[in-house]
Symmetry: C2
Subunit: 184 residues, 2 copies
DNA sequence: AAATATAGATTGAATGTTCATTCGGTTTTA
DNA sequence: TAAAACCGAATGAACATTCAATCTATATTT
């Protein structure tokens, strides 16, 4: 059943957010998700496999969200803005994701993890378009996209971790700053 | 003896970098550092206390490095550039710090952790200077400094995690992009 | 200068707890 | 009625931490 799997994912996000990567045990997780410990192992081979599956699930949802909201008829600047806000909103809607995601991508698990390339390529391709159109500065698109993604994460960390009050006009300021730096 | 303490810190960085935050046990750490398990508990109350002390040690070293390299006679742009490069170089010189640092600041440990404010204030104050001088855009300096720090971290992650080749001219490009976004 | 005392540093085997994982059995679903 | 989903107590390994004993270095006494 998909519901139990999702309950496990949701609980994992909540518990990891609160107790950290370590600090979250499988029995805790089972209890919180309302399933037996054995059930988790019916769906996932191990704790590590569950965590990797959760990460994949999140990345898939984010990429889908980005793809459906993208509109090639808009100007590149508008697409840039939309993309930035899409990632931001994704996390606002799922406030437990950020900590999990950041813990995961900074863990040695992540090294040699295939999903990594997918999201990287997705962003690089977008900025390559901008470079080809002569709008974005002609620098390594991997670099550009890394800084772009990083600026969303920075903003989210300020909001979630540091409780810096960020309103809609602040968001536009941040996006503008990022844009100004990247255009020719 | 200070050497044993430093050996424990160095080993912790190395092991956490390789095996993650969890995945690094105290017996492993003791063995790697060439001390007995009990010795670690002579210096630190617990594993968590050791990790917090390690973080404090790193932040202190970074702030000292920033303070000694700062020169108020230089132009604000030059100071901006120097500051960016100082953080970058700090990590290049200590390649095991980044993973540990990022794991730590994204863990729930970090919430309500006094050292956090110190580094935040240090950066905010710098950008407040720039704003007062009419050089930096008049936005919340916490926001500005968060994005500044974030851009260094993004660059470092690309270098260390994604093995993106970043040379000296790339660094200047990244700093330039960041600068262009932040000036009036 | 030698002998002794003292405190702090260091050891590592022992402890009790917690953990990820298993598996024989039960319930649900198709 | 068979297969798949689910349960949760049981298991053994790994873990953080402790502590009584030993060592080291320095201070104090003879």
């Amino acid at each position: 059943m998909v519901e139990k799997k999702q309950a496990i994912f949701d609980s994992a996000l909540e518990l990891i957010n609160e107790c950290g990567f370590h600090g979250t045990s499988m029995s805790q997780l089972a209890k919180h998700a309302g399933v037996a410990a054995g059930t988790i192992y019916h769906y996932f081979e191990s704790k590590e496999a569950m965590i990797c599956a959760l990460h994949t699930d999140i990345v898939d949802k984010l990429l889908e969200s980005l793809t459906t909201s993208d509109d090639k008829n808009l100007s590149f600047k508008e697409r840039f803005e939309k993309r930035w806000k899409c990632i931001y909103q994704f996390h606002i809607d799922r406030p437990h994701v950020l900590r999990f995601y950041e813990q995961f991508v900074n863990s040695p698990f992540y090294f040699n993890y295939p999903k990594r390339k997918e999201i990287q390529l997705y962003f690089s391709a977008f900025f390559q378009e901008g470079i080809s159109q002569g709008i974005i500065i002609d620098k390594n698109p991997e670099l550009i996209s890394g800084l772009f993604f990083g600026s969303v994460i920075s903003a989210l960390k300020m909001k979630f971790y540091r409780k810096v009050d960020i309103d809609g006009s602040d968001l536009n300021d941040i996006i503008d700053m990022q844009w100004k730096g990247m255009i020719i």
